[in-house]
Symmetry: none
Subunit: 189 residues, 4 copies
Amino acid sequence: MDWSKRQKEIIEAAISLIAQNGIEGLTTKALAAAVGISEPALYRHFSNKSEIVQAVIGCFDDDVENLKNTQRGWQFIKAFFAHRIEQVKTEPALANMIYSEELFIHNSDHADLMKEMMHKHRNMIMENIVIASKNGVIRNDIAPEMIFRMLAGSLRLLIKQYGMSGNAFDLCSESTILFDTWDLLFKVK
Amino acid sequence: MDWSKRQKEIIEAAISLIAQNGIEGLTTKALAAAVGISEPALYRHFSNKSEIVQAVIGCFDDDVENLKNTQRGWQFIKAFFAHRIEQVKTEPALANMIYSEELFIHNSDHADLMKEMMHKHRNMIMENIVIASKNGVIRNDIAPEMIFRMLAGSLRLLIKQYGMSGNAFDLCSESTILFDTWDLLFKVK
Amino acid sequence: MDWSKRQKEIIEAAISLIAQNGIEGLTTKALAAAVGISEPALYRHFSNKSEIVQAVIGCFDDDVENLKNTQRGWQFIKAFFAHRIEQVKTEPALANMIYSEELFIHNSDHADLMKEMMHKHRNMIMENIVIASKNGVIRNDIAPEMIFRMLAGSLRLLIKQYGMSGNAFDLCSESTILFDTWDLLFKVK
Amino acid sequence: MDWSKRQKEIIEAAISLIAQNGIEGLTTKALAAAVGISEPALYRHFSNKSEIVQAVIGCFDDDVENLKNTQRGWQFIKAFFAHRIEQVKTEPALANMIYSEELFIHNSDHADLMKEMMHKHRNMIMENIVIASKNGVIRNDIAPEMIFRMLAGSLRLLIKQYGMSGNAFDLCSESTILFDTWDLLFKVK
DNA sequence: GATGAATGAGGGTTCATTCAT
DNA sequence: TATGAATGAACCCTCATTCAT
């Protein structure tokens, strides 16, 4: 999606508000105030609030296509998750929502978009787990689905801890250790 | 906490509503309708909505003390997580909120309660990881924190998938496989 | 329909507001102020504004059933229109809306109700024109549809003039003269 | 009034919008969209919305002066109403507003204009009823005011029925029959 | 001429909560 | 114990209009 400058401002402000106060904190009033414009002005740039939320959700998908085209197997997996860490470091507010499907899932306008994206990402990772397994890079005595849950689950929890701690620890070093742990557990020596 | 019959009804209805419609779906109107009483009647049983939400959060802590007193080490860990699975199977609505801290964390009345409980549970598990490690039951070449993230993270994701899929798969068998995977990865042969 | 006391108050206030300021004048704010309650209080008595408007429309149908059961032919027709005059005299605000289908017809929620009622009344009158014609009470050399248009049209215009003049003339005597004119034109001597 | 090409476009679009959606449907947004220009552009051609509405009202007066100069008595009356039928046939949207004073009467900017025009037309017709009566063309045992109500009322109702039916019948033939009925009822043989 | 961006005022509606009964 | 009625605050959104470009 190509967003105008104002639209980007609005999306960023929306992410901030959701991160700070949850989806309930994303009111048009608060959003307008955060951007520094009036409420009606928001409607020049998005036709309704739902569109704004969907733009926010769309952010989680940024740049994933690039990764897909440049990496395969175990490397892709590490790169994919490293990209998540990168996103959170760049925009710490994301830590509080990037894996918080509940925030969006109860609105049918957003649920499908969210689920679709989750499935897409899961499939991308699963495919590359199978590739890495077939190539002998990682062990093949564990079902790909389970490996997926161990990898994605641990990264999700790390990011959630980072968010809930108020970004109180060094996400970079912790993620490096986590990735090393993955190598230790899954890579064939 | 000892809740009256009506209070229990209200708490259960609240869990149902949150599970179905998110925290935004928990309105006094909807709650009163779900219980089959009038809105003001809710205030006979709880002094405000916040108290109801806190009672809901308290549910996640049920029975944990029992476990603590009867199991240690790797066994405790398996039992702890097996209990979570049991809870979700008994009350599937929980799957949509048990690991959804975002739903509550943005309200300062609830955040502390939620964080306190998360820390308590994390500490219990970490202690037992250390014990299992020292006893030679599980490998000791991985930091306990990382093991915690792998275990808790993968279980969280499993339960979230179960909730988001609309309880579409057999949680029991999937969790059994997950636990076996944990054994395979962490237990010393 | 059985309306509560408050509901009746609201309906009357709504009629007043529409009569004075048109359908655009019927805002929840103005209505609440007119009744002397807050805006949300309106929603205890009607589930939305549309329901209020429909209740207003329903007023035009009041007592028509009674007439139907007690009169036939030319007598029914005179009684029907006399009843209209009576309604307007009792509630002069009605003069500004009773024949103002445009006020309601553009909202699909109301249009069907309005059209249905118009058809019902038209059919009742047409039936009785046919009866009066067959009984030899009124002339039979004019199509009933045309007689209907002359009668209903002239009465409508009289009431509209009464409303637009600010109730400036004696509706009673004017309507008596109109009815006499009808007798003169249509009755068989 | 002499309107520019763009102004005429705007007036026509306004009539269309009012006919379709009532006076509430005439918003600057909808109007601009219908004309295919931006909202601010409207203000190049009219200084505000009220001016547009007044231009619309002015349309109902078109060509009446011509009639006045070429016809007298019963002929004028028939010609006047035939002209109304002609207008509606040419621009069916008019059927939904030409006799819908309520749409405009509640705005003091427009009410006077509307009332003035109604009186002017009423006086023109009344004068010619008197003429026709004095000339012995129509009966003189009915007050001119009443004849006016019968004539204008029935024509108004015919046009309203035409509009409300969605232009579902042949207005031409129905109006011919109505005019014949008038002859039958009022003309001296 | 025309427009993109903006706005104060106001629209209908829902919220958690209170109070008299 | 329970409820019908009420409310201030806030919700999302649209209105006619302005102004710099």
